[in-house]
C-alpha cells in the first residue's frame, strides 16, 4: 500500500488529499449507500445511510476524510442491518405510499430500501401531518415524502442562486419551508429549469405532468439495483 491508499472491505483504494471516503470509493466504483449525498454538492452528513466503520469507529463516509492506511468496512452484515434500520426510520417518519407515488421506480429512497433488503417498516408509523403545496403551476411539493436531505436547499442556494428553501423546526418537528411571502411555492420564483426542481431523491419535489411519461416498469431502478453509476 502506498501513502495515498487505504482499504475498503480489504480492497486497496487510492485517494487524493482532501477526498472523503465516499469520493474515493466512488472513484473506485465502490458503492456506499447514501441519500443526502450528491457528488455535485458539498456533503451534508445527515441521513447516516453511508455509515461505514473506520478503524473500529462508525463514521459518515460522505464527510469523513480518507487517510492513509485506514481500514474501512462497508459491506458487512452488521452495517447493512444498521442501515436497514435507519432507512426504516425514514419510512415510518414520513408517509411513503410508494405504489401511489409518481416517483416510484425513480426514487432513491425506495431503491436504497430494496438494495438494503428492507421488506417491512419494522417500527410503528408516525403518520406525520405534513403539508402538500400544489400552488405552483409546474412544481409540486409533497412534504409527506421529504426526508430532509437538503439537496433542494443546497441546489437552490449554491447553483440557482435563489435560496428558496430552508429547514425549519427542531427534532422531530423538522420541516421544509419556502422562502416566499406566502410561504408557498407559487410566489417563490421557482421554475422547472432550476436545479432544485429535479434534485429531490424522493417524490417530495416533483415537476408536474411528467410523472408517468416513463411508464412503471421502465424506470431506472425497475431494471437494476441502485449502484455507483446512478449519480450520473
Amino acid at each position: 500500500m502506498t501513502e495515498s491508499q487505504f482499504t475498503i472491505d480489504g480492497v486497496i483504494v487510492a485517494f487524493t488529499e482532501g477526498q472523503t471516503i465516499m469520493e474515493a470509493a466512488s472513484a473506485a466504483n465502490i458503492y456506499i449507500p447514501r441519500l443526502c449525498h450528491h457528488p455535485d454538492f458539498k456533503p451534508h452528513g445527515s441521513c447516516k445511510l453511508c455509515t461505514v466503520n473506520v478503524n473500529g469507529r462508525n463514521c459518515s463516509a460522505c464527510t469523513f476524510p480518507a487517510a492513509f492506511g485506514q481500514q474501512v468496512l462497508n459491506q458487512t452484515t452488521e452495517l447493512n442491518n444498521l442501515r436497514r434500520r435507519i432507512i426504516q426510520m425514514l419510512f415510518v417518519e414520513g408517509n411513503h405510499l410508494c405504489p401511489a407515488c409518481e416517483k416510484s421506480g425513480n426514487c432513491k429512497l425506495q431503491a436504497t430500501a430494496y438494495q438494503l433488503q428492507m421488506v417491512d417498516s419494522h417500527f410503528p408509523h408516525f403518520y406525520r401531518d405534513s403539508r402538500v403545496d400544489s400552488s405552483h403551476p409546474d412544481i409540486m411539493l409533497d412534504r409527506n415524502r421529504c426526508i430532509f436531505c437538503t439537496l433542494c436547499v443546497r441546489a437552490s442556494r449554491d447553483i440557482d442562486g435563489k435560496d428558496l428553501f430552508a429547514i425549519s423546526g427542531r427534532g422531530i418537528n423538522k420541516h421544509l419551508v419556502i422562502n416566499s411571502a406566502s410561504g408557498e411555492l407559487h410566489d417563490s420564483g421557482m421554475t422547472i429549469t432550476d436545479r432544485a426542481a429535479d434534485i429531490c431523491p424522493t417524490g417530495a419535489l416533483l415537476i408536474k405532468r411528467q410523472g408517468f411519461s416513463i411508464p412503471i416498469g421502465k424506470r431506472i431502478y425497475d431494471n437494476h439495483e441502485i449502484c455507483e453509476d446512478c449519480d450520473e
Binding site: 445527515s46 435507519i86 427542531r170 419551508v177 419556502i178 422562502n179
Partner: protein
C-alpha cells in the same frame, strides 16, 4: 392591523435592532441576539420584525423563520405578556412542579400551551433551568424564580392580574441562593479568602512568559470540565499551532494586532461555554455569580497564549439574570486595563462579548454552540475540521467550560505542580458537583477527583435507602448501591457536574421517562438515528411505563438504543439512550416486573385507532369498541 400600528412597531423594532448593532457591531451574525431582544420585548417575533430584519440584514425570510422555529425561547405566535415557563426536570417533578402547574392554571384560568384569551399570560414547561436544588423553579419573562410554593404562586398571580411590570416585582422572588456546601482550592480561589487578586494571574503570565505558562498548564494535567475531559493545554497548543504553519513553537505569543474595531477579521477566538444544559448541573451558575473575574482572567490568559483578540461568553438563556452582572465585571476589567486594548501595557488586544442562548441544550455541544454564535440554528458540524482549526467564522477557536478557564487562571497564578498534587494521577485538581435530589443538604460541593460516591452521599446527607444515583446527568450513568465505591474521576465515573440522588421510594420509570423525553425534545433533528430514534424510544418507553409493555419491547428498546448510540452525528444522540441502556443493564428485574404477563402486545392502541371511524358513524356502542387483550387476560 392598522397601518399606523404597523409603523409604530417598525420604529420600535428598528430601535431594538439598532441598539444591538451599536453594542455588538452590524453583522448578520447578530441575528439570534436581535431576535432574543425582540422576543423579550414582544413575547414573540412579529411578522413586521421578520420583514424588517430580512431587509436590513439581507437574510432570507425563511432562514429567520427557521431560526425562530429552532430555539425554544423564540416564538412565531404571540405568547402572554407574562410568559411562565415551568422547569420540568426530574428534580422539579420530585419537588412537586405538577402541583405548581395545576395551581397556576387554576388561579390564572389558563391551560398549558395556550394563550389566555385576554393575551395576558401563557404557561409552558421547559427543560432543566439549573435551579435543581431550589426547585420547583420557573422562568417568568426569562427571569429565574426558584422555590415555588402556594404562597409564592399566589403572589405571582396577584401581580400578573394587577399588570405589575416585572421590574417592580419584589426582589425576593428572584433571589437565587448560591448554596455552596463544600469548598476546596477552586472555590477558595477568591478575593474573600485572600487567594485571588484581580490581574495577578495575568501579570504572572506576562512575567513568566507565554510558553512557560502553557508549560505550567501542561504540568498541571488540567482536563476540560465540561464533560469530555480533553487536555486543556493540548487544546490551546493545537489552536495556536493551527494559525502558524511549521515552526509554531517559537512563535508562541505572537500577539494579535487586529484593532478591536475590525473584530470580524480577528485571527483566533476564545469561547467560554456557559450553556450548562445538562439536567442537574448548576455549578457554572455559581461560578458565573461568584467567580466571574477569575473566569474572564482565564479567558484573557487563553487569548494571550493562543493569539486571539476576540472572545465570547455563550450564556444559556436560562441564566439571563446574570447578564448585567457579567457585563459589569467585563467593564471592571476594561477599566483596570485587564481587557480591551494594550492589556497591561502589552501589545495585546482582547475583548469579550456575551451571547445569550435561547433554549436549546444542543448549543452546549461546541460546534453547535459556534453555529449559534454565528447566528444560526444550533446544528453540530461535521468533524474534522475541529473548532481548534476551524471554529467561529472558520477561525481557530478554543471552546472551554467555565470551570476550566477558572482552573487555568488559578494554575497560571499558583503553578502546575501545586495543582497536580490534588486529585488523582489521571484527573488532577478538583471537581465541582451540583448535588440535588433526595438528600438533606443539596447544593454545590467541591471535591478533589478520586472521591467515592459513598463519601459524597454521606457528606450531603443522602437518604439511607437509595434506588440509585444519576452521575453526569441524563447523558451520564445511573448507578446503584453496589457501585457506590466508584470514584468521581475521568478514569472511572466522569461527570460534568450533575449528581442526582434518588431514594428507594422513587419510580425508576418516572426518572428514565423524564430523561428520554428530554433527549427527544432537545434533539436538533439533523441526523436520522437521533431524530427518529429518540422519538421511537420515547413512544416505546411511554408504552412500557403505562403498563402495556411486553418482553419483546425490552429487546426493541435495547436495539433502538444501540442504533442511536452507534450511528448518531454528535454526543447528544450518542448518549441519548444511556438512561435506558444503563438502567436496563443494572435493574433488569424492575423492567421485568413492569411488563404485562402476556405473550403479545399490540404496537399501538387498537381501540384508539377506531376512534375516527366511531365519530364518522356516530357509534359508541359496545360493538364499536375493541378490547386490547380480551382473550388473553
Amino acid at each position: 392591523m392598522t397601518t399606523q400600528l404597523k409603523n409604530i412597531d417598525i420604529a420600535a423594532i428598528t430601535r431594538v435592532v439598532d441598539a444591538n448593532f451599536k453594542r455588538n457591531g452590524q453583522s448578520p451574525h447578530q441575528l439570534l441576539q436581535i431576535l432574543v431582544q425582540i422576543e423579550a420585548e414582544y413575547h414573540h417575533i412579529p411578522g413586521t420584525a421578520i420583514e424588517l430584519i430580512a431587509k436590513t440584514l439581507s437574510i432570507p425570510r425563511a432562514s429567520i423563520i427557521s431560526l425562530i422555529d429552532f430555539y425554544s425561547f423564540l416564538n412565531l405566535t404571540p405568547q402572554g405578556n407574562y410568559v411562565i415557563l415551568i422547569s420540568d426536570s426530574i428534580t422539579d417533578r420530585m419537588l412537586g412542579n405538577q402541583l405548581i402547574i395545576d395551581l397556576f392554571c387554576k388561579t390564572l384560568n389558563i391551560t398549558v400551551g395556550k394563550l389566555r384569551s385576554d393575551g395576558r399570560v401563557s404557561i409552558k414547561t421547559t427543560s432543566c433551568t439549573g435551579l435543581c436544588e431550589q426547585g420547583p423553579a420557573a422562568l417568568i419573562n426569562g427571569y429565574a424564580v426558584p422555590h415555588l410554593n402556594a404562597e409564592r404562586v399566589a403572589e405571582i398571580v396577584h401581580m400578573i392580574e394587577a399588570g405589575t411590570p416585572l421590574n417592580q416585582w419584589p426582589a425576593h422572588l428572584f433571589q437565587i441562593d448560591n448554596n455552596v456546601k463544600q469548598r476546596d482550592i477552586l472555590l477558595n480561589y477568591s478575593q474573600e479568602s485572600g487567594q485571588y487578586n484581580e490581574g495577578d494571574a495575568l501579570k504572572t503570565l506576562f512575567d513568566r512568559g507565554l510558553q512557560k505558562s502553557l508549560d505550567e498548564l501542561t504540568t498541571s494535567g488540567l482536563r476540560g470540565r465540561g464533560g469530555a475531559g480533553f487536555k486543556t493545554s493540548m487544546k490551546w497548543h493545537f489552536c495556536h499551532e493551527s494559525y502558524t504553519t511549521g515552526d509554531a513553537d517559537d512563535n508562541l505569543g505572537l500577539i494579535c494586532d487586529v484593532k478591536p474595531k475590525d473584530r470580524d477579521d480577528c485571527d483566533r477566538v476564545v469561547v467560554c461555554n456557559a450553556d450548562e444544559g445538562e439536567p442537574g448541573t448548576f455549578k457554572d451558575r455559581l461560578l458565573l455569580t461568584t467567580h466571574a473575574h477569575q473566569l474572564i482572567e482565564g479567558m484573557t490568559i487563553c487569548a494571550a497564549i493562543i493569539g486571539a483578540c476576540r472572545g465570547f461568553i455563550y450564556l444559556r438563556g436560562e441564566y439571563r439574570y446574570l447578564y448585567d452582572s457579567l457585563r459589569q465585571v467585563l467593564d471592571d476589567h476594561r477599566k483596570q486595563n485587564l481587557l480591551g486594548d494594550s492589556i497591561l501595557g502589552e501589545q495585546f488586544n482582547f475583548d469579550i462579548q456575551i451571547h445569550l442562548g435561547a433554549g436549546a441544550y444542543i448549543c452546549g455541544e461546541e460546534s453547535a454552540l459556534i453555529e449559534s454564535l454565528e447566528g444560526h440554528r444550533g446544528i453540530p458540524r461535521n468533524r474534522p475540521p475541529f473548532p481548534v482549526t476551524q471554529g467561529y467564522l472558520n477561525k481557530p477557536t478554543v471552546v472551554n467550560n467555565v470551570e476550566t478557564f477558572i482552573n487555568a487562571a488559578m494554575i497560571v497564578d499558583k503553578g502546575g505542580d501545586w495543582f497536580a498534587e490534588h486529585g488523582t494521577e489521571q484527573s488532577a485538581g478538583t471537581k465541582l458537583l451540583s448535588i440535588s435530589g433526595d438528600c438533606t443538604s443539596p447544593g454545590i460541593y467541591e471535591y478533589p477527583f478520586g472521591i467515592t460516591v459513598r463519601e459524597i452521599l454521606n457528606h450531603c446527607g443522602a437518604d439511607p435507602e437509595l434506588l440509585g444515583v444519576q452521575v453526569g446527568g441524563p447523558s451520564g450513568t445511573f448507578i446503584t448501591s453496589d457501585e457506590f465505591e466508584r470514584q468521581i474521576a475521568f478514569e472511572d465515573l466522569a461527570s460534568g457536574g450533575s449528581f442526582i440522588i434518588f431514594n428507594s421510594s422513587r419510580c425508576l420509570f418516572d426518572i428514565v421517562q423524564n430523561f428520554t423525553q428530554f433527549f427527544s425534545h432537545e434533539s436538533c433533528g439533523f441526523c436520522t438515528p437521533c431524530r427518529v430514534g429518540t422519538t421511537l424510544l420515547t413512544r416505546l418507553f411511554d408504552k412500557i411505563h403505562e403498563g402495556h409493555g411486553s418482553a419483546g419491547d425490552l429487546v426493541e428498546l435495547e436495539e433502538i438504543g444501540k442504533i442511536i448510540k452507534s450511528a448518531s452525528h454528535c454526543g447528544l444522540g450518542q448518549t441519548a439512550a444511556n438512561p435506558i441502556l444503563t438502567t436496563l443493564h443494572r435493574l433488569p428485574n424492575l423492567y421485568q416486573m413492569q411488563l404485562k404477563q402476556i405473550g403479545f402486545e399490540p404496537g399501538f392502541d387498537l381501540d384508539g385507532a377506531l376512534d375516527t371511524a366511531r365519530r364518522l358513524t356516530h357509534r359508541d356502542d359496545a360493538a364499536a369498541h375493541l378490547a386490547q387483550r380480551e382473550e388473553m387476560e
